[in-house]
């Protein structure tokens, strides 16, 4: 009886080991950044191996006499980057939501979207690439090897537009021991409407004005 039990345990162990090895070989883990073949392996997992995205997680706030800007970022590991063309693979993303209030009037609020589970491109704010100081928009005050994160940014009223785009580039700094987030927000493509061939809309813009912002970490 004891011998039979031992045999079963042995069989289960061997099969489990084979399963594990099989699973590992089907989903190679590759670095998300500094990878010249990013996006070229079907089914791969492009992982933020340096935990570069982790530094941005949390809640950040900018406020002055009339405006209030709040950003919330969450790291979402291993989201499935699935589209109808090209390779499909898994990838770590930083996703986010924003709230913008002017003179007590809320002009945009996408904060609750960070609590949902979506296709990465369905979030209002999501990470694009890690960039150097000399990549547009240039960062004059950055140190030589300092890296920033470019993100795709949208608001409730702009998400549907097919063309409106802006560079939304963030980097974390410490000033006098206070953790802060610096943002460069620059328009790069005008609006065109909700469809590529429908009514042309060229005057749509974000409620958040273009420019540079410095936010303070809340938590």
């Amino acid at each position: 009886m004891q011998l039979k039990l031992n045999n079963m345990k042995y069989i289960y162990s061997i099969v489990s080991l084979l399963l594990f090895l099989s699973c590992k070989s089907q989903t190679p883990t590759l670095p998300l950044y500094e990878n010249s073949n990013y996006g070229s392996v079907e089914g791969a997992y492009y992982k933020d191996v340096d935990d570069f995205l982790n530094q941005f997680e949390g809640t950040w706030v900018y406020t002055d006499s009339s405006t209030y800007l709040k950003l919330v970022f969450v790291k979402k590991p291993m989201l499935y980057n699935n589209t109808s063309v090209g390779f499909n693979y898994y990838e770590d993303f930083l996703i986010g939501g924003s709230q913008y209030i002017v003179n007590g009037v809320e002009l945009n609020n996408t904060l609750s979207s960070v609590l949902t589970n979506n296709n990465p491109y369905d979030y209002y704010i999501f990470s694009m690439n890690r960039i150097s100081k000399n990549t547009f928009p240039k960062c004059v005050e950055c140190t030589e090897n300092e890296k920033r994160l470019s993100m795709s940014f949208d608001e409730i009223n702009t998400k549907a537009d097919k063309c409106l785009e802006a560079e939304f580039v963030i980097r974390r700094i410490f000033e006098n021991g206070v953790e802060k987030l610096k943002i460069q927000f620059i328009k790069t493509s005008s609006s065109c409407g909700d469809t590529l061939d429908g009514p042309l809309v060229t005057d749509l813009n974000y409620s958040l004005p273009y420019g540079e912002y410095t936010l303070v970490k809340l938590d």
């Binding site: 079963m8 399963l19 089907q26 089914g43 109808s84 063309v85 150097s132 000399n134 240039k138």
Partner: protein, 506 residues
């Protein structure tokens, strides 16, 4: 007993998990197979080539001679035919396969012709030339995804590569009597987003359109009851005369019949296909249109003006305009800077706008990459979509986006993007996810090369991203001579993917 049962259950569970874990990607279905049994898929020339026996039959049937300037257009010198090998429709059902390859339509040819390679599994590949008598309106309706009834308008001819007489192909059908032609409606691909109902616009971001519905036609040929081998059309048998011109008529006049025509020694010969419209007009190509564009003095003048602005920190640009009545170029109009960002141009579309000429600012000062962005490619798509052509069919090869920039040494270059396959472009760009993914991928590559990198390296980055997204035959990239007297098409070298080849446009 209990122990054996536990072992069996345990191994079964593990086997299920194992099977799930080794399953890699979901196959990309392009058609709804429910209730039809047909699987339809658009494939490209490389995929056809990977089916060696099918490609061998294609080579024999077409006597391939590569055209050095337009690789995707396969030219058959003997039959004076062009095959649009970028729009091959693959149909399969229950052990049967067919590949339908459209021929480019000559303006004076009344028929839309498709080469169909077909077989049952483990049987030899056969070839048949199908001809459909379609009006220009029919063609546009099919291109836009409508299903057209081609009853009484279909012609066919066997292509037996072992069999030619006097170097010509006979156009009367010698493949046996048409016994039946049954049609099956196969709906196109549903929207990729969950919960979408076919036929409705995608409600989730992306507005991806479904791929077209198809009327799949199964032609069954057999011996005629009297032993003859006439027939071949659905309805009254009539025969087209000359492959290159003229409409249906007496198939024997001016033609040399095939001697000892091959008998169909099978009880039934089944051809399953549906009309496939070629994407390119045989008489105009992106190269031809690009040369026309830059040889126009007004356009050339503005291209030269833009060369003087590449060292600035703003974008500059002009719209390319055509008179819709006589299709001639008009004086380009300057595009204004965006008041919300003076470094960037307002985008304008519609009316008689057929293109855009613009600069990218100084890469050293601004960090902007001196090569096309995905947004530039999207602009080309929107220009084509919104051009008001007064309801006339669009010649997609006439739309252009140019980009003039300088490298880190101050050397100036002008590039152009042209459309080769608009449907393929739309299928990608109608999805927001596709666009963002391509944008991310291209910016990732540009980050590696940097804005100060060599222009050829940046061109290679751009072309690699197109290739990764199956757009390498939908869009073409060109580089101008410094005096704009001619252009060269830039492609990834098929022998070495890290190099480019540049082929002059004639």
């Amino acid at each position: 007993m209990k122990g054996k049962l536990r072992l069996l259950i345990g191994l079964s569970i593990l086997a299920c998990i194992f099977k799930t874990s080794i399953s890699c990607e979901a196959e990309k279905e392009y058609s709804n197979t429910v209730n039809t049994g047909y699987r339809l898929r658009k494939i490209n020339f490389d995929q056809l080539k990977s089916r060696k026996e099918v490609f061998s039959m294609f080579e024999k049937a077409s006597r391939v001679r590569q055209n050095s300037q337009m690789e995707r257009i396969v030219y058959n010198e003997e039959y004076d035919l062009y095959f649009d090998v970028d729009n091959i429709l693959f149909i399969e059902k229950e052990g049967y396969e067919s590949y339908t390859i459209p021929l480019l339509k000559e303006p004076n040819d009344s028929l839309v012709k498709n080469l169909v390679l077909y077989h049952k599994l483990n049987e030899p590949i056969k070839a048949k030339l199908m001809g459909y008598k379609l009006t220009d309106e029919d063609i546009e309706r099919i291109r836009s995804g409508e299903v057209i009834d081609v009853s009484n308008r279909t012609y066919s001819s066997v292509i037996d590569p072992s069999y030619t007489v006097n170097g010509s192909v006979s156009w009367y059908d010698d493949s046996g009597c048409l016994v039946t032609a049954t049609t099956t409606f196969v709906p196109g691909t549903p929207c990729i987003e969950d919960g979408h109902t076919f036929g409705e616009p995608c409600s989730v971001t992306g507005s991806g359109r479904a791929t077209p519905d198809r009327l799949v036609i199964q032609y069954t040929y057999g011996f005629c009851l009297d032993g003859s081998v006439n027939g071949g059309t659905i309805g009254n048998p009539t025969y087209p005369t000359d492959p290159g011109g003229g409409g249906p008529g007496d198939g024997t006049s001016g033609q040399t019949p095939i001697e000892n025509p091959p008998l169909n020694d099978e009880e039934e010969d089944e051809v399953v296909t549906t009309p496939v419209i070629p994407e390119l007009d045989a008489q105009t190509t992106p190269c031809v249109e690009l040369n026309k564009f830059s040889s126009n003095s007004g356009n050339k003048n503005k291209l030269n003006v833009l060369k003087t602005k590449t060292n600035l920190t703003k974008e500059y640009g002009y719209t390319i305009l055509k008179n819709n009545e006589n299709n001639s170029y008009q004086t380009p109009e300057e595009i204004q800077q965006d008041p919300t960002n003076p470094n960037h141009l307002v985008q304008i579309y519609g009316d008689n706008i057929v293109g855009l000429m613009h600069t990218h600012p100084d890469p050293v000062e601004t960090g902007v990459v001196p090569m096309f962005s995905i947004a530039d490619l999207r602009a080309l798509v929107i220009i084509a979509l919104r051009h008001n052509n007064n309801g006339q069919p669009k010649n997609f090869s006439e739309y252009t986006v140019t980009m003039t920039a300088q490298n880190s040494n101050g050397d100036k270059y002008t590039y152009a993007l042209k459309i080769k396959n608009f449907l393929a472009l739309m299928q990608v760009f109608s999805s927001e996810s596709n666009y963002k993914k391509m944008k991310k991928s291209l910016e990732n590559k540009y980050n590696e090369t940097t804005a100060l990198g060599a222009m050829d390296d940046l061109s290679l980055d751009f072309l690699n991203v197109l290739k990764k997204n199956n757009l390498q035959n939908a869009v073409s990239l060109y580089q101008a001579e410094q005096d704009f007297s001619s252009w060269k098409e830039i492609k990834i070298n098929p022998e070495n993917e890290f190099n480019l080849i540049k082929t002059p446009c004639n």
